[in-house]
């Protein structure tokens, strides 16, 4: 098998990214269309669009100058440069790989965005300017997010080179399931959604909407310029996906030598990984609504705060000496982080149905954790039963039953909040940090190699659940707060006490079941007697 020289691989990196990017976009668009029961465009449609636009004439707005004309090419050049700097195909640095670090990559992204924004101003079109000013203001928190993500990378590896970070993860798999790393992944994923103009920030498909941000900026471009902008935005998406996967999530499957078959395999895997992110994007696009414009900063702030929490947790992560990774430990940490993040989602959500869905997902995560505990041999096989019962009760029966009761009561789906979403998330982050700080010096002991870093996550989850109950003066939300509290405790019990006899676990669940019944009865009484399920009106008894 011939061995490719480094320069050839480097060229291949750029070429493969540029060539695959429209295909990835096309597949995502098609998949979305199919899920939404439309036929949708062909997967190759982005290529056709680009070729069509390349053949068309350029029409310039009257005030447009050289800045406007240069912008598409400047931005595209930027996008074409970035593949040289990130580990797209190889896990060893290519000659130009060390020319820029994570910040350098970020700055090139910023340059491309800047050139497009300036062009929008240069076009003189108010709509394009509106788009770019929106992007600037909503994106204000993206840069600090990138900085904090980089902090986590730099704290782990003592450098901020993307190649080095991938190598660190490969050398110690435990890195991937550290709570700080998982939170950083969450933050970066939200950043990717934001930067690629996906729901919940922007509706990618339509062109005539006043909520447009990214699309509005390029409204005045036409012909080859627009072709390069479109292509560039596809490339940008694939680049972000590549960084997300090849640096943060799964830095495996890269070519470790220059052999032709290795490199070919790496290209194929790059495509598969990008489609993996694409699946997540499609799921989110099909299950959530676009945020109202003035709610978008909450989304970006949330992603920023996750990255802050990631740094805080990194600094206070318990050094329990369990650095060798067990499969169970990986599941435990991932489960705990997922449950915690879903709680954040519930804290943010203004809609009781959405809260119910998030609770149901969280219960599913707890059940998966129970099953994983049994499957990895940490607990007895009775935990399969527990997992099944958890799914039946907490993921299905409770949400369905509660939503049935609420629908029958005809209660208002909107949940009041005593505190704005960003502030309550901020408080929640402070609470989680507190859990990590307090638990850091405490040695639980117990059977060796328990994944103890999941314990502060679970306790943070308990605290956040308490906060949820406090800031949401609505009976159904408070009931859900109690239920997520119970979920967080379940995570703790599965993580550090997987041997708890099944009979006790089932008794606990049974208890929760009766508790929920009583809660529901009380909610009904409240709704009938007070014609509302709000609890901030319950202020007769004081002193």
């Amino acid at each position: 098998m011939p061995i490719l020289p480094d320069w050839a691989i480097q060229v291949l990196q750029v070429v493969s990214i540029l060539a695959l990017a429209p295909l990835v976009s096309g597949i995502i668009a098609r998949a979305e269309a199919i899920i939404q029961q439309r036929r949708g465009p062909r997967v190759l449609q982005p290529y056709y669009d680009i070729f069509k636009l390349l053949r068309k004439q350029t029409v310039l707005p009257a005030p447009a100058g050289p800045v406007f004309r240069a912008a598409p090419y400047v931005s595209f050049a930027g996008y074409a440069t970035i593949p040289l700097l990130i580990p797209a195909l190889t896990n060893f640095p290519l000659p130009l790989g060390y020319e820029a670090d994570f910040f350098g990559v970020g700055m090139i992204f910023a340059l491309t965005s800047f050139s497009i924004s300036v062009a929008a101003v240069d076009s003189g079109s108010p709509y394009a300017q509106l788009g770019s000013s929106r992007l600037r203001s909503f994106g204000a928190f993206n840069e600090p997010t990138v900085i904090f993500v980089t902090f986590v990378l730099a704290l782990t590896t003592h450098t901020d080179l993307p190649y080095a970070f991938g190598a660190t993860i490969r050398s110690a798999v435990v890195q991937v399931v550290r709570p700080s790393h998982l939170l950083m992944i969450a933050a970066f994923f939200m950043l990717v959604l934001n930067e690629t103009g996906r729901i919940p920030v922007e509706n990618h498909g339509s062109t005539l909407e006043f909520g447009q941000i990214e699309e509005a900026r390029v409204a005045e471009h036409s012909g080859p310029g627009l072709a390069f902008l479109r292509w560039g935005s596809n490339v940008k998406q694939l680049l972000l996906f590549t960084i997300f996967m090849n640096v943060l999530v799964v830095p495996w499957g890269l070519a470790s030598t220059g052999r032709l078959d290795d490199v070919a395999l790496a290209i194929a895997l790059l495509f598969v990984k990008a489609l993996g992110v694409g699946v997540a994007v499609v799921v989110i696009e099909c299950s959530f609504a676009k945020l109202r414009l003035y709610k978008i900063p909450e989304f970006t702030v949330a992603s920023f705060m996750f990255s802050v929490l990631a740094v805080v947790i990194f600094l206070f992560e318990p050094s329990f000496g369990n650095e060798h990774l067990s499969v169970f430990g990986a599941f435990a940490t991932i489960g705990a982080v997922v449950v915690l993040l879903l709680e954040y989602g519930m804290l943010r959500s203004q809609d009781v149905w959405e809260q119910l869905r998030l609770y149901s997902l969280g219960s599913g995560a707890v059940a998966a954790l129970a099953i994983a505990t049994a499957a990895t041999g940490r607990g007895s096989s009775a935990l399969y039963v527990l997992g099944a019962v958890t799914i039946a009760l907490k993921a299905l029966l409770f949400p369905v039953g509660i939503s049935f009761v609420l629908r029958r009561l005809g209660s208002e789906p909107r949940v009041p909040s005593a505190l704005g979403a960003p502030s309550s998330i901020l408080v929640a982050i402070a609470l989680c940090s507190l859990a990590f700080i307090v638990l850091r010096p405490i040695h639980i002991g117990g059977v060796q190699a328990l994944p103890l870093s999941a314990l502060p996550l679970a306790i943070g989850g308990v605290l956040v659940a308490l906060e949820l109950m406090i800031v949401r003066p609505s009976a159904p939300s408070q009931l859900l707060g109690f239920l997520v509290l119970e979920n967080a405790v379940s995570v703790a019990s599965l993580v550090i006490a997987p041997g708890l006899p099944i009979i006790l676990a089932l008794l606990l669940l049974f208890d929760v079941l009766i508790g929920v019944l009583v809660f529901v009865v009380l909610v009904q009484y409240l709704a009938i007697e007070r014609t509302a399920v709000r609890t901030d009106v319950l202020n007769r008894l004081t002193g």
């Binding site: 405490i442 040695h443 117990g446 308490l466 606990l508 009484y525």
Partner: protein, 501 residues
């Protein structure tokens, strides 16, 4: 002896069954019988375990030692007397068209409530203990809400939400204790009390401390420690009077019992002084807050509720003093407080039936209008304040003596000052209610202190008087003479908290 445990757990359930099958008339009788039988069984069990014996049943899932027996006695006593009192208390509503359904619900919940509180001290492991305590919350929340008034619903909602959240934290304490236990007991085991105690030396001290604090916060929410007490005055004031008595005398004690089980583990693991300090801190904070709220309280049922917080604080401080006589005094206080507070809440229920108001200002001259209730309510107030002749005097005296014996002078001083503050508040309010003259209260001419229009204050039912009399007799009897068998039981229970076996 294991048959006593089975019988104890079967009797209330039989009463529930009879109530469900038949109507409310038979329910009254069956509840009464169930309460009295439970009390008798509790006394039998207490007599049996008074020298440190242990009763075990159901393959080790049920277990009573002297510590649990003390709490069984408190529950059995109040359960029996509440059954007597309920007959008279409900009689006032008999004219209502939906009374049969209401009474049936009431007696079902009451028996279930009694049953759950009897389960708490007989549970043999932390998991069952937690489940039982949570069940008490759920059932009693329904009892608090049973009147379905605005205020009752509000109280019930706050109660079930706050108490369940607290118990969530308590569950975390159990999980952490379990986790640290795995190092000596293996990966999978039943978290039985005695297994922890025999292997306590191998537990991580950090984990024992952490789980103890979480248990005090979690179960302490139900005990009513300040600042987790916010549900307590609401629930106590809005529940029907017999339920208030059970909540205060028995439910709070049951939650305290759970804390004591953690205390035992902490002592066995060598963290005694840490645990004692935690209890003293929470106890003193509760004493301060409760004392202040008692003084300025205008609703006499809330007044009694804050007094419960105060007495839980006294018990916590008594355990925290650590001297054997103080610990025995604190355990005695569980019983004496149950009697005195039961008497007070039963009296408040009788007053409520007589005057139809919960306001202190709405009641005057109760001593004359209600010749049994009035004096007995005043007696309850005096007993709660720890005057001699009442059992509370004996138990508080033991606690203070134990405090001095163990050199906790600051703690004792604080205790005495704060108890006197509450003493002042309770006597001031109760004295006005029972002894005050209506004409003094209304200088403007309008009879402001007289009962509301159309309500004539008088004794409503001999059953209510009988219930109160029962409490009074026990309370005074414990103050005058402590039976030697009972004294031995307290000694043995105190010994379990000092050097657990």
């Amino acid at each position: 002896m294991s048959w006593t445990l089975y019988a104890l757990l079967a009797v209330p359930l039989v009463a529930v069954l009879i109530t469900l099958v038949d109507g409310w008339r038979l329910a009254r009788a069956s509840t009464l019988v169930a309460g009295l039988v439970s009390l008798a069984l509790a006394i039998v069990i207490g007599f049996h375990v008074r020298h440190g014996e242990v009763v075990i049943a159901a393959a080790g899932w049920l277990r009573v030692d002297s510590l649990g027996a003390v709490f069984l006695l408190a529950t059995g006593l109040l359960y029996a007397i509440a059954a007597v009192f309920s007959i008279g208390y409900l009689a006032a509503d008999e004219a209502h068209s939906d009374f049969p359904a209401f009474a049936r619900r009431y007696f079902v919940y009451l028996n279930l409530f009694g049953w759950t509180m009897l389960v708490v001290p007989v549970a043999a492991d932390f998991g069952t203990l937690w489940v039982a305590v949570e069940l008490t919350t759920i059932v009693s929340a329904l009892l608090v809400a049973i009147d379905r008034t605005d205020a009752a619903l509000e109280a019930s909602w706050k109660y079930v939400l706050i108490a369940s959240s607290g118990l969530g934290i308590a569950l975390l304490a159990i999980v952490i204790l379990y986790a640290t236990g795995t190092s000596v007991l293996g990966g999978a085991y039943l978290p039985r009390f005695e297994r922890f105690l025999t292997h306590a030396h191998g537990l991580s001290r950090d984990a024992v401390d952490l789980s103890f604090v979480l248990a005090v916060v979690g179960f302490g929410t139900k005990v009513g420690f300040v600042p987790m007490h916010t549900w307590l005055p609401d629930a106590h004031s809005e529940a029907p009077a017999p339920v208030s008595a059970l909540l205060s005398g028995s439910l709070l004690a049951a939650a305290f019992y759970a804390i004591l089980r953690f205390f035992q583990v902490a002592v066995a693991a060598g963290q005694r002084s840490f645990a004692e300090h935690v209890l003293i801190v929470f106890g003193v904070i509760s004493l301060v807050a409760a004392g202040l709220f008692v003084v300025r309280q205008a609703n006499y049922k809330r007044l009694l509720a804050y007094s419960s917080i105060e007495h839980m604080g006294i018990i916590a401080v008594g355990i925290g003093f650590g001297a054997p006589i103080a610990v025995a005094g604190a355990l005695l206080h569980v019983i004496t407080h149950a009697c005195a507070k039961g008497l007070a809440f039963f009296g408040s229920g009788s007053l409520l039936r007589g005057y139809d108001t919960k306001e202190v200002d709405g009641i005057t001259d109760a001593g004359r209008a209600m010749p049994f209730t009035g004096p007995m309510f005043l007696a309850a107030a005096l007993a709660l304040s720890g005057l001699p002749l009442s059992g509370v005097f004996r138990s508080e005296f033991q606690i203070v003596a134990g405090g001095f014996a163990s050199g906790q002078d600051v703690g004792v001083t604080l205790l005495l000052v704060l108890v006197n503050l509450a003493f002042f508040g309770i006597i001031w309010h109760a004295g006005r209610m029972v002894l005050g003259r209506p004409e003094q209260a209304s200088p403007g001419g309008a009879p402001g202190g007289a009962p509301a229009a159309g309500v004539v204050a008088r004794e409503r039912s001999a059953w209510m008087v009988a219930g109160m009399l029962g409490c009074l007799v026990v309370s005074v009897a414990l103050g005058v003479h402590l039976p030697s068998a009972f004294s031995a039981l307290l000694q043995s229970a105190g010994h379990r908290l000092a050097v657990p076996v």
